[in-house]
């Protein structure tokens, strides 16, 4: 059979079209925008200014600083909760003799619910006064407990973390469960024979062998932690004050409310660099064999 260049090109044509027009061109163009001054409402074309915009964003833009700090305040608990919760769940589900697939479906369900609707759902759950969660807390004994979880600057960001983790856990659960199922049974049997209890078995046998999968889920959670948009847009709009202003949401506000495409592209590029640095760093932190698998 003749494998010609022409047929290859035909097979690749749809991929090349979509990637060039909607991925490659936007990446290059927004790089150019990030080096320009461009208000979409008033400027006819972008005006090239080099790195001046980046310097202004990084050193002078106090809202950018707030967004950056908030992003980390969001990312740290988000990472810890999602990582630990899915790890514990994976270990427990892996122990089940029956019902495992039923429980998997339950924990995977939030994956298919749109984040914006997750936002509305949690806003209703955590509603003050008639919200059921506050009612539940009151019935536990604190009679005047009535927290406006998303309206109070002290709790708003962490309440977003909970909703975001709720949706993410299914993804990391898939990764960790497939890692656990891949572990050889004989390894764990041997530990049992040696008299190891359940926790020793997990700590000394399961976790070290799960390392590559822990790394992969870590990287996914991290990438995800930097992309915080839908919940903020739907539930808090960055408020109260600027308590939930994240990098993504700030970028969006700059681009589509202020129409300041230059500044927005700078923040977007800085976010991308942070993501790349983090996933690279996490890869380096672990052993080389883990890095090559990821």
């Amino acid at each position: 059979m003749k494998e010609s260049r022409l047929t290859l090109l035909i097979f690749l044509a749809p991929t090349l079209f979509f990637v060039l027009v909607f991925i490659a061109y936007p990446v290059v163009y927004s790089a150019y925008l990030s080096l320009s001054e461009y208000n979409y409402a008033s400027d006819p074309t972008p005006k090239f200014i080099g790195f001046k915009g980046y310097i202004e964003t990084i050193f002078e833009d106090s809202m950018f600083h707030t967004a950056l700090i908030n992003q980390f305040k969001f990312a740290v608990p988000y990472f810890v909760i999602t990582f630990l919760a899915s790890l514990i769940l994976a270990i427990l589900i892996n122990e089940l003799r029956f019902g495992a697939s039923f429980f998997q479906v339950i924990f995977y369900l939030p994956m298919v619910i749109p984040l914006s609707l997750v936002g509305i759902t949690f806003a209703w759950l955590l509603f003050p006064d008639v919200g059921i969660f506050n009612h539940f807390l009151r019935s536990l004994g604190v009679s005047n407990w009535n927290i406006d979880w998303y309206g109070d600057p002290k709790t708003a960001l962490n309440s977003l973390v909970v909703a975001r983790s709720w949706k993410m856990i299914g993804f990391t659960l898939i990764i960790l469960l497939s890692g656990l199922q891949g572990l050889s049974k004989s390894l764990r049997e041997a530990a049992k024979v040696d008299g190891a209890n359940f926790f020793q078995e997990i700590w000394y046998i399961v976790l070290p062998n799960l390392k590559p999968y822990l790394l992969i889920s870590g990287v996914w959670i991290l990438i995800n932690a930097m992309k915080t948009f839908e919940l903020v847009a739907v539930v808090t709009q960055g408020g109260p004050g600027m308590a939930t202003l994240t990098l993504y949401y700030y970028t969006w506000k700059l681009a589509f409310e202020r129409l300041d495409m230059g500044r927005a592209s700078q923040v977007a590029y800085i976010t991308a660099v942070i993501i790349v640095l983090f996933s690279w760093g996490l890869n380096r932190l672990f052993k080389p064999e883990a890095a090559s698998r990821a």
Binding site: L8, I23, L96, Q104, I120, I174, A255, I275
Partner: protein
């Protein structure tokens, strides 16, 4: 020897108790885990007076379908959002599946210069913040008049979902045994016939995985939909339901709950029916 035997015996006796303990723990966690969704559902089947009484109660004082009836018969916007979501998601899925079946063949079976570089470049799409694409795409669509049209959403959705499809399809094609291809060549197939008649039936599970994953992702997309579709009649469900909530202002969570439940039913049904492919596809994409 005795120690070994003892521990075995003890384990055996404790096994049942310990397994039941774990089952119980997982059940409680699962119940807490689905409670937000359950609560939305319970809210959606209550009359308004029952939702806003104080103190609230978990058990409904009355059960009604009036919220669902209202949403389906009185809210024209909701039907329109549903149509937009169905069209945009459906067309996106078709284009992604065809494109990634073609591209997956090129990457998984053919060998060419720059193959790995090109593939890695396509896959890196998944880690870049999507908002980076959104700004130029917004400007481009604004100038071409594509905003507030179905194609204005379908085209970027295809681009964003294609990398995942390619990842799955390349993996499937690269595991097809060589002799199957050789046999096809001997039978006198040309390359397109081999792709269509011989290879595609073999990689059907991967096609199913690509279909369900693309469907789920396109159905729930919010960032592009809310930015590119600024006119209400073009909005999809994830954006439209939020728009209704903001517009109504007065709190009618029963109706909002009904809209949320109706919005996720199609994707729930598909997910439960094809969960094997969905999970396999995600695993393939996330781990490799």
């Amino acid at each position: 020897m005795t120690r070994l035997g003892d521990s075995h015996l003890r384990r055996f006796r404790n096994l049942k108790k310990y397994k039941i303990g774990i089952l119980l723990i997982v059940s409680v966690i699962a119940l807490v885990y689905v409670s937000p969704l359950l609560w939305m559902f319970i809210t959606s089947i209550r009359p308004t007076w029952d939702i806003y009484k104080f103190p609230p109660s978990v058990i409904p004082g009355a059960v009604t379908l009036e919220n669902y009836v209202y949403v389906v018969t009185q809210m024209e916007g909701f039907g329109r959002y549903f149509l937009n979501s169905a069209v945009v998601t459906g067309v996106t899925v078709v284009i992604v599946v065809i494109s990634s079946a073609m591209g997956g063949y090129a990457f998984g079976i053919r060998r060419f210069k720059g193959q790995n570089f090109l593939f890695m470049a396509v896959i890196s799409v998944l880690t870049i913040p999507y908002i980076m694409y959104l700004i130029p795409i917004y400007i481009m669509e604004d100038r071409l008049g594509l905003r507030n049209t179905w194609w204005g959403l379908i085209l970027p959705y295809v681009a964003l979902n294609l990398p995942w499809g390619l990842l799955i399809m390349r993996g499937a094609f690269s595991t097809v045994p060589l002799d199957i291809r050789d046999a096809a060549v001997i039978d006198g197939c040309n390359e397109f016939q081999m792709w269509y008649k011989v290879l595609l039936p073999i990689v059907r599970p991967a096609l199913a995985a690509t279909t369900i994953i693309t469907f789920v992702f396109a159905w729930q997309e919010y960032l592009f939909a809310s930015t590119l579709m600024t006119k209400n009649e073009w909005q999809t469900l994830p954006v439209g339901v939020v728009w209704i909530r903001d517009e109504l202002q007065t709190l009618v969570y029963g109706r909002i709950g009904a809209m949320i439940i109706l919005s996720i039913i199609p994707v729930f049904v598909l997910f439960i029916a094809f969960r094997k492919f969905f999970i396999e596809g995600l695993r393939e994409g996330m781990i490799k």
